[in-house]
């Protein structure tokens, strides 16, 4: 799937959930084997039009996420290309064991699309936040975990999963309509590979998801202050692109930035990599704390947790200066 800067601007206004529905329509036009299931969150997944245009390729199972995964696995077993949607915690936690049995153990090729992960559910609160989903999902063998940075990347990931055989996958949607884009022009996406956004020498920044839009702004601000930061989009949290190890060796300082708890996310993944590979670089982590926080607008929450570009910039300046 290719896109141009006009698409990127337009999709930004639509947001990841509405665009998910749109991308599914595009895929359904090319693939009659596509089936999309939802646990009563079709509208929230931007699937209202999909339901009308492709009624035979849409199944609602009602508010039953555990059942959703089992039914999807049965369909995948019969050769259908299956995508399921619900909110991140309801999939990654309530249906976690169904995902473990059906997708992990039996390797049924279901694509689990986790809506509204991170803090993007705003006033709906901690019950709806996806704070821990990467930590949980990445422990399940055979399951890919992919975190798009913006709508264009979401489109590329969905296309890649729809037209290739990548196995079972968890796709984590963060951000809201208006969240800053990472990409304003077309780029090459390759399954399981990191994407270098900027090259730099003072510090290496690793990040994933919609917070990358904020990080990109920080990197631009730092450049004006003569701080040169390398930025890598770790879009695939599982499998991890092992070429990162070589890159580590070029930096004295590395920082992970993510909209996920400090337990078990990108920070933990990179800690494991650094220890296992005897890397001497220092690793820092900017993430959500290991506790339930307040609720508010998405922008308020990003600021509260220091994940907006201004706060990120300040934190990185401190890290670069740190002896």
């Amino acid at each position: 799937m290719n896109f141009n800067s006009t698409d990127a601007k337009q999709w930004l206004r639509m947001g990841p959930r509405a665009m998910f529905g749109q991308f599914m329509i595009n895929i359904a036009k090319k693939n009659k084997k596509l089936i999309v299931l939802s646990a009563d969150l079709g509208r929230s997944s931007g699937l209202a039009r999909f339901k009308i245009e492709f009624p035979k390729q849409y199944i609602s199972v009602g508010i039953s996420e555990q059942n959703l995964i089992g039914v999807a696995a049965g369909l995948a077993n019969e050769g259908f290309k299956v995508f399921v949607t619900s909110f991140a915690p309801f999939l990654s936690m309530r249906a976690s064991e169904q995902i473990r049995m059906n997708l992990g153990y039996m390797k049924h090729k279901v694509n689990v699309v986790a809506l509204g992960s991170g803090l993007s559910m705003g006033f709906l609160g901690n019950s709806h936040f996806g704070l821990e989903d990467i930590a949980i999902m990445r422990t399940i063998p055979n399951l890919n975990v992919t975190c798009p940075a913006d709508c264009s990347e979401l489109g590329k990931i969905l296309d890649d999963y729809a037209f290739n055989d990548r196995g079972p996958s968890y796709i984590r949607l963060t951000g809201i309509p208006g969240s800053k884009n990472l990409y304003d022009k077309n780029y090459a996406y390759k399954f399981g590979k990191n994407i270098t956004i900027t090259k730099g020498k003072d510090i290496l920044i690793l990040s994933h998801g919609s917070v990358l839009g904020q990080v990109k702004l920080s990197v631009e601000a730092l450049k004006k202050m003569n701080i040169s930061a390398g930025l890598v989009n770790v879009v695939s949290l599982k499998p991890i692109d092992e070429s990162i190890i070589t890159l580590f060796k070029k930096y004295k300082k590395i920082v992970t930035i993510e909209e996920h708890t400090s337990v078990g996310g990108l920070g933990s993944i990179m800690t494991e990599k650094i220890l296992k590979n005897g890397i001497k670089s220092r690793l820092f982590s900017i993430s959500l704390p290991d506790k339930f926080g307040p609720t508010g607008t998405y922008d308020y929450l990003l600021k509260y947790h220091g994940l907006d570009s201004e706060n990120i910039t300040k934190k990185i300046i401190k890290l670069v200066k740190k002896k």
């Binding site: 035979k56 199944i59 059942n67 995964i69 049965g74 169904q98 153990y105």
Partner: protein, 268 residues
């Protein structure tokens, strides 16, 4: 018909004998009680439906994973597994034949199981697929009565009626016991019928050890609804000292007990 019934009766005996042989051979404790309660149910399913390895026609899902001894036995009796040596790998270190099924389509094991309450959703997925492909074959799922405490069973029960899955059968093996003992009276045979009726299924109940009754229960299916067969069974059926004795939910057969159990099934 009588000839068919006698054939299935013989098959049920052979299943019970194989269950005991495998279990004794393993030298380890295994789920015998709940396996013996399902012998006629599986004998009827595998005789009545067209279940094949090479070409998927009718499909069988064992949701009650701890009933694997019965599935393994029928796969041997029906020659899906040809060599007795293979089934005697049951619960040997490193074996694929363990307390619960591990998916192996080449010998007719459709799903990995062991975590209860998950098989019906998978069966619903298969049944919807069959409808989409205009395949007129059936999907049969066996669950335990204790398993019906799992909420996900009822989630799947709703999706099955919402999608008019008249190609889907569930058999509830009501042996009246679960791991910790007798099942609560709110989940007994009578209550189970009411519950599946309440969920909008076509419900047929019968004696789960009566072959002609089981055959009839499968025949009385519906044009619009999925069918639930509520089968009243006896845990440990056929072995006198195991019947309704929950010590045999998961037990080890010594040589003496094995010989006694064989004597018992020969008499019954």
């Amino acid at each position: 018909m009588l000839e068919k019934i006698n054939k299935i009766k013989k098959l049920s005996y052979k299943i019970r004998k194989t269950i005991l042989d495998i279990s004794y051979n393993s030298g380890e404790p295994s789920h015998i009680g709940g396996a013996l309660s399902m012998a006629e149910i599986l004998a009827v399913i595998y005789s009545n439906f067209n279940i094949k390895v090479s070409k998927p026609l009718d499909r069988f899902i064992l949701s009650k994973g701890h009933g694997f001894l019965t599935l393994l036995s029928i796969l041997y009796c029906k020659k899906f597994i040809k060599n007795k040596k293979e089934i005697f790998q049951f619960q040997k270190n490193g074996s694929e034949f363990i307390a619960h099924p591990i998916m192996n389509k080449s010998i007719g094991i459709e799903t990995s199981n062991g975590s209860l309450g998950q098989g019906l959703s998978f069966g619903v997925g298969l049944a919807i697929s069959y409808k989409k492909k205009k395949n007129n074959n059936s999907i049969i799922v066996v669950v335990g009565d204790g398993e019906c405490y799992e909420g996900s069973v009822w989630e799947a029960a709703i999706t099955a009626t919402e999608n008019n899955l008249n190609n889907l059968f569930i058999v509830v093996d009501c042996n009246g016991h679960q791991n910790d003992g007798a099942i609560n009276k709110m989940m007994n045979f009578e209550e189970m019928k009411k519950k599946w009726l309440g969920f909008g299924w076509n419900v047929n109940s019968c004696d789960g050890h009566n072959i002609s009754a089981l055959i009839k229960a499968f025949k009385k299916n519906s044009k619009t609804k999925p069918t639930a067969i509520i089968a009243k069974t006896i845990k440990g059926k056929g072995v006198n000292f195991m019947e309704n004795n929950n010590d045999w939910h998961h037990g080890r057969l010594t040589k003496n007990l094995y010989l006694e159990s064989i004597k018992s099934i020969n008499k019954n």
